[in-house]
Point group: C2
Chain length 462, copies 2
């Protein structure tokens, strides 16, 4: 890869400005209020792919938001890289906690990002990381160094479960045929500790509703005499963990892959400073399943977390009411071998079974996906490792991630190819949170590293 | 009391229309957005008092919403009745559950109210019940039958804790001097089972906040590894009751008055149909403290209920976030001898003590008040009993109420007079709920009964 540093130096400002323009578009897939913005963003991504050198780029309609597909096929005998990313973003609320508006990107220097970071919803997850691939393609095409074929599949529903992508992939196996799938939608340990994510957790996301009296009632007249749906919901949620913080749903751990002591010892070698971790979150202590370390708890162990709860009077002041209904959104992160549909069923039947008389319970599954583990002895992993070694000066650490990209397991099943997760964000980038950001250094480092992956993958494929 | 029936027949439509005009004013004291409406309502009440025959009616400013004071003193040797009521109302939300807009009163016939009921926020609590007293005065004055002196004290902060009324009462003891306090802000058992409330529960209302990480974080990256404030809040709330649904706060029951078996047997004679109660609320079973009946649970026993809970993502769809903060509004109904300030302190120290490491907890007291029990061997109670007997054809049943009028205990302490609680609403009137209403029959029956109370109280005082 000749001239990549020069090319970056020359085009750095434009690369940043193009990303900033993309970040100005509030492509929130979860909220119908933003539907036109989501559609506009798809169009913008299509044009960016054509500008970067795709010979074809198309908007493929689905039952939901469209998939942007692009490709540059140079020789059918050469390997094909399929890049997956998403152009939709998480909702930005709570808005009042943002230091600058989520769709008015600004670059600010921080301790972790002395060269500055772009602050905006989607900066890291996933517009910034997806756009690195577009700009890497531009570099390879413009300098005539693209060593293989490339396909892009950029979706608009990753943050709401990728339901329509599943159908799209199943119906377009031939079009999407590839030798390796490349995704940047995860993070790395630190700017001087590159890592490649070799595992992802699965997900089951449900919403629960507990109904007591058929109407809100006065807490003086009915207090203590009828089941209060909020108290009951709290009790039911509390009962989902035991005193060791293990999930109490019968069968929940049945298929959980137990790592050997050797594997756990290997994992424990990754650099991690508990005091810094606590300091960064401003917490006095960590909290989780007994018998596991923090890094194990957020990667190789399944979890159950309430993501939202509401019921009764939540306005200013006081209202002495017993609500008719209380609600919660609950998600479970799953590990390989836990089937998300089976776990969802286990949750539903357990949650219904623990409801006391006097309330009724409704559980609605939102979405989910399987966990994933990738081996490190493949040419895909080796190419990635070599690419990092070239640009970072050191080999990346293989690391299990705690997040979920539900579609990865599906890719393997439907397209019969492995996925390489080259993430360039940091855990502190506040994805899904107020003040999400992405380091300028990380953005450019990604653009610099990706072309080497193409080069080594093509070489190793021979 | 001559001609009361005739007077009612003649003025019934006007009495209803005047109340309807009052109900159109959204005097929500809890929400600053309605502050002008609250002030306008005070002004309207003042004019209504003058129109009804008060010789003086004044708006008395406080640090919050004003108190409307009116009086008609006919002879300082005669006894004085002090009428207390409130012109503020509970918030109307959730608005979507109202069948008609809360501030556009309509009269509809129901099974319980074959003569129709007025549907509006405040119809029963307390504008309708308060206005019965204004119209009863009008009758007595216009027909020259007022047998004693009367004072009105109508406040605008009952629904938010009456903080400023406390100060007002303490500072105006001479002005408010009286022989009996008369309040209609409770209910009766049924239209053919009149009752007088002889006890009220006290109240302690607090808001709690649980903070985990210093920002919302991604549930994939941090799930299972840090304390989730919503899960912790649920666990803390759940732990506030034991398996017998008794409150677990140490010392909570220490001063609770235990009724004798005889007293409980007497209470159990009040007509009550558990099947109808469950049917009206659409619940399969009642729920509450072990060893007590429904009517005991909601009157002579203290309770702890969550009135509102919120945290995390509560919008449409799914967001995989772990919230930084979770909140709940919690109220405790207290029984006589439980001091609300002491109970609030017990709650705060207990709640803080059960917070696990990894979260911080803040408890903010909202308001509270003492419980109250009134004896039935006073001339006030006897006058009320006789008044009901005259207009209902049967003696009222003395009944402990589950609600709280925190100011009643204060009246006794500061003004050294007893309170008679003549309520004409029904439990099914949905006060504090959507579709609050007040029977037209009940409204008119109140106006008919109140003048007899004045007559008998004056006679018995001699």
């Amino acid at each position: 890869m000749n001239h990549i540093s020069d090319y970056l130096t020359q085009h750095k400002d434009r690369f940043l400005n193009e990303l900033i323009e993309l970040l100005k578009m509030p492509s929130v897939s979860a909220d119908p209020a933003f539907s036109q913005d989501v559609l506009d963003t798809a169009e913008k991504v299509k044009i960016a792919l054509l500008d970067a050198g795709c010979t074809t780029a198309e908007i493929h309609e689905t039952a939901g938001y469209p998939i942007v597909y692009g490709e540059r096929i140079i020789d059918s005998d050469l390997p094909t890289v399929l890049v997956y990313g998403h152009y939709d973003v998480q909702p930005a609320d709570p808005l009042e906690l943002w230091d600058s508006p989520p769709y008015e990107p600004v670059i600010k220097k921080t301790a972790e990002h002395p060269e500055g970071a772009i602050y905006a919803r989607g900066a890291c997850d996933d517009k910034g990381q997806m756009y690195m691939h577009v700009k890497a393609l531009e570099f390879m095409v413009k300098t005539d160094q693209l060593p293989c074929n490339v396909k892009f599949m950029i979706e608009g529903e990753e943050e709401v479960g990728s339901d329509n992508l599943e159908i799209y992939v199943a119906n377009n196996k031939e079009k999407l045929k590839n030798d390796i799938i490349l995704i940047s939608d995860t993070g790395m340990i630190a700017n001087d500790v590159p890592s490649v994510t070799t595992g992802l957790r699965g997900l089951s996301y449900v919403e629960v509703q507990v109904t007591g009296p058929n109407r809100d009632v006065h807490s003086g007249l009915y207090g203590g005499a009828v089941a209060n749906p909020i108290n009951i919901l709290a009790k039911m949620i509390a009962s989902l963990h035991d005193e060791n913080n293990r999930v109490t749903i019968p069968g929940f751990y049945d298929k959980v892959e137990e790592l050997s002591q050797d594997e756990r010892a290997e994992m424990a070698k990754a650099p991690f400073d508990l005091e810094e971790y606590k300091k960064a979150l401003d917490i006095e202590a960590v909290y989780g399943e007994k018998g596991y370390s923090t890094n194990e708890r957020n990667s190789i162990r399944p979890t159950l977390d309430v993501n939202g709860i509401w019921g009764g009077y939540i306005g200013e002041g006081a209202k002495t009411v017993i609500a008719s209904k209380a609600y919660a959104k609950i998600s479970m992160r799953l590990v390989p071998n836990q089937d998300w549909k089976a776990i969802t069923e286990l949750f539903i039947s357990h949650f219904e079974s623990i409801a006391p008389k006097g309330v009724t319970v409704k559980v609605t599954p939102h979405h989910g996906g399987q966990g994933y583990v990738t081996p490190i002895n493949t040419i895909g992993y080796k190419a990635a490792s070599k690419a990092y070694e070239t640009t970072f000066g050191k080999k990346p650490i293989p690391q299990r991630g705690g997040g979920s990209i539900p579609i990865v397991a599906l890719f393997e099943k439907e397209l019969e190819s492995k996925t390489i997760l080259m993430g360039f964000g940091l855990d502190s980038d506040a994805i899904h949170s107020p003040n999400e950001h992405f380091g300028v250094w990380n953005y450019l480092k990604g653009i610099e590293t990706i072309p080497y992956f193409y080069q080594y993958f093509t070489e190793l494929s021979n």
